[in-house]
Subunit: 230 residues, 2 copies
Amino acid sequence: MLNQYDVQTKCLVALDSIIFGFDGEVLKILLVKRGIEETATTWSLMGGWLRPDEDLEVAASRILTELTGLQNIYLEQLYAFGTPDRDKISRTVSIVYFALINVLDYDEQVSDSFEARWFSLDDLPTLLFDHGDMIRMGIGKLRYKAAQHPIGFELLPEKFTIPQLQKLYEAIFNTTFDKRNFSRKFLSTGLLKKLNEKQRGHSKKGAYYYQVDTDKYHSQFNSFLNFAKV
Amino acid sequence: MLNQYDVQTKCLVALDSIIFGFDGEVLKILLVKRGIEETATTWSLMGGWLRPDEDLEVAASRILTELTGLQNIYLEQLYAFGTPDRDKISRTVSIVYFALINVLDYDEQVSDSFEARWFSLDDLPTLLFDHGDMIRMGIGKLRYKAAQHPIGFELLPEKFTIPQLQKLYEAIFNTTFDKRNFSRKFLSTGLLKKLNEKQRGHSKKGAYYYQVDTDKYHSQFNSFLNFAKV
């Protein structure tokens, strides 16, 4: 039986959200300015406190909207961070969420009236507490998802070119791919629908636009077990 | 800037661990008896409270050992559960961990001096609070892992036969597979090393034992991107 006198700890519960965005070139993260002391400012993830009547995900969404103006963003829970001294002021457990969005789709929402700003992942400012660790874990999760389930299409516009897709993968994995290999591999997944439309303005030979075949994508999600349809 | 007067909620923080085990036939889960009121007993996951000086994972491990005798089990964080009324007595956020073990390897540790018992997933008793939801999520995670990364070998003995592997997958997915298809598919992954040893005692034609080729397994983990070695 559990010892009913076992020591219990009351903690503050915070929600912190990692918002990744891709602008077509660079992978970015949305941060807000936090004032901890009068003269110090530091940047942080979208964070706030859990309210008595709220579920965790509802709180994370509310805080995101309050700080950035962003609405209707699908937030996925990433991890709970709870080292005893992560917040020196008061014991706080933070439940971290993350989302992947296309920066260009949301530019209007993230207006100047909020103090949220996009930072390139290569060029992050000093961050509050263990938010650096949280971001590192978020990048790890993003890479894992991109490796398991081809096409991080939440980060891309609805229609995109293969070069844009390659730029995204190169940004996610901080590496470069052979252009022909990459193109062949992604086209061989059968998950891309080629559109009858070319990208204008870049060169004479514009690249074709593609869309994700979402039905096929969902049916192939658990790819290894596809043999298992009995 | 964050509103420094924003409502904060102090919560109790609990850790609950889902321990899955496979005994060669059936997928099971380890539960303990909880006494909430004098005359009522109900079963629950391995749960307890976070201590002031502990990190979350350390707490989960400690609680697991205190309740079951199990030591050195690798616990993976699954999800934070935090609906406001999940625990009617006091607002509690529970951080849920899970582990996969081979029941037969740990039989001696889970002794009668503890009140932990294995239950078949098909035959669960009444559970405390939202522990049923937690278990459902744990099963979902197990299925996801099994579908993405073939061979849930933590649940199997170090050497196993293909029929045993098939039984495991059938238990995880609550389905049946075609024997020849299954065997062919798993052998084609190249992740299994055939041993020069047969299983005795079942029939004249004993099945060969196999082991996981762990080097190959780890190198193929992010299978889709294996083309990406530049």
